[in-house]
Amino acid sequence: MRKTALFAATLVAALAAFAGAGPGPDRDSARAATAVPELKGRLSLSGAWALYPLALKWAEEFQRLHPGVRIDVQAGGAGKGVADALAGAVDIGMLSRDIAPAETAKGALAVAVAKDAVVPTVSRANPFLAEILRRGLKRNEFAAIWVAQTLRSWDELFGRKPGRPIHVYTRSDACGAAETWAAYLGRRQEDLNGIGVYGDPGVADAVKRDPLGVGFNNINFVYDAKTKRPVEGLEVCPIDLDGNGTLDPRERVYATRDDIIKAIAADVYPSPPARELFFVLKGKPASPALAEFLKWALTGGQALVPDAGYLPLGKERLAQGLAAIGGTDTGR
């Protein structure tokens, strides 16, 4: 499975390199023109599930602006994104955690492109749902569930005798969501215990089906893109941020996707589990199509960010990114 995917991705990358070698538009003259008519090439992206919906939107819009460019987007976890980008199998790796020093040392260049958050989730069929929504869970309770494994039943959580067990879910693939959730608990992904399920949709599905389950997801796999409410069967497990044992009005930020995004922007919802999302390159962009796509994502493309369910970055952060990829002009 993986091998064929890798092979296909390599093939695509090779084709892209081949296409890039042909006579293309001169970069400076292309920048001078307002519309870039002759931009051609193939771009490939792989990695974080968190960035996948946004990357698809960007790819679609960019291909509409530049019909000569083909963009392939694959999801497979943040770790795969970096590994693929460093191996040269894709042009852009999608990353939903901070870049590791070992990865930077191997030549990875990470550019922040948007922000989102990881939220804990429970099934709507959870027998304790009313209590969970009334009081929320504290950070140390999450830690006792995922890390220390001292809190093993839902009844105990609400101060009763041990009864129905908590079914804890985590991600099996190397990913940013688990790394970010672990960071909130002061740990790393490998310290999270629980049933390992593959992929963001996989965890959402497992929690949905399991009334006693608890998991975590990127917000774009929790909220429906159209209704902006949590998807059928899934409920956000609220965090009791100040730990006072009840969910205050300012802590009730989970009703719709817009509410949670507002809470992230206002720093009510903490980082982590909110976090920046990155595009990872192997060194500075080589082909004009790649450079233009990155520049556009940080400028014109940012307009699509809120609609896709993410938080746009601040001007300074965007300017930093543009400087890093070698585009000197900071927006249009």
Partner: protein, 295 residues
């Protein structure tokens, strides 16, 4: 002269091609060994293979949970698949009317051709809830359903076609006269199937099981989706397991960010290869011995 030269050329060319697969195995083993030397240099093999703690960031790379996970899942799958497959094959070859047999074959072959992700998705939707809500309470266990048993069931269904197909070929190769002799002595059909057909085809059935086993051992995607992926040695069928192929597939991405991680994964691949080779050689020896005895 020209004809002889052609002959020599054909022989040399083909022998070189024939040597290629064998050489390839050697190259793979060598490559994996070279890559895993980095981890073997800092930790003894015994601690890696028999260690139960998997915490790459702390430099602990115990592979035992994964090795035992692989064995648990594979044994469960074989225990389910082999008896059912053989009984199916006996029915199809000895009892079923011709029309049923002819129409069953393509169905079996289609099952063999389904991509493993399809089995995985089906496993998540059907098998995991079935194990979690029906089977586990039946045995007094609490399980989310993501378990060794779920993986074993999905895997068993994946190896049915292989075992059924080969067993059918084996039974078809048994001369009709043997059956007629048995029946003419007054044996019932079942007695004939048991004492003549099964007996005569036992080696073939063993070979079929070994092929099924090889498929089960290396299967990645479908198992990964239902096994639960918890790096601990399973204690019961309802515990989650974490087979070696799933370990490699899941953590392929983390290779670059943690020191010696890639080396540990290469060692895991080497161990997987070694175990598959070991069982294949073992089965081959049993087969050869059985063949000798039957002569």
């Amino acid at each position: 002269m020209k004809r002889l030269a052609k002959d020599a050329l054909a022989r040399r060319g083909m022998s070189a091609l024939a040597a290629l697969p064998g050489l390839l195995v050697l190259i793979i083993v060598l490559g994996l060994f070279l890559k895993s030397r980095a981890i073997l240099a800092v930790q003894p093999l015994s601690r890696l293979v028999f260690g139960t703690s998997w915490h790459p960031l702390r430099g602990e790379f115990g592979l035992l949970p994964f090795i035992s996970g692989t064995v648990w899942v594979t044994v469960t799958a074989l225990a389910l698949a082999v008896p059912i497959s053989i009984l199916t094959a006996i029915y199809l070859s000895e009892f079923a009317p011709r029309s049923v047999r002819e129409s069953a074959r393509p169905v079996v072959d289609v099952l063999a051709g389904l991509p493993s992700v399809v089995f995985g998705v089906w496993g998540v939707i059907v098998v995991v809830p079935f194990v979690g809500r029906v089977l586990a309470p039946l045995f007094g266990a609490s399980s989310s359903g993501y378990s060794v048993l779920a993986a074993g069931i999905v895997l068993a269904i994946m190896i049915f076609p292989t075992v059924i197909h080969i067993s059918l070929e084996v039974f078809a190769s048994i001369p009709l006269s043997l059956r007629e002799a048995s029946l003419s002595l007054g044996a019932t059909r079942w007695e004939t199937a048991r004492h003549v057909v099964l007996r005569k085809g036992s080696q073939g059935i063993l070979a079929a099981s070994v092929l099924g086993f090889s498929r089960a051992f290396g299967e990645t995607m479908a198992v990964l989706m239902v096994a639960g992926n918890v790096p601990a040695v399973p204690k019961s069928l309802f515990d989650p397991g974490y087979p070696l192929p799933a370990l490699i597939a899941n953590n392929y991405g983390e290779m670059m960010s943690v020191p010696r991680y890639d080396s540990a994964l290469m060692l895991a691949a080497l161990v997987l290869l070694a175990v598959v080779l070991f069982f294949n050689v073992l089965a081959r020896r049993i087969l050869v011995r059985a063949e000798r005895r039957s002569r």
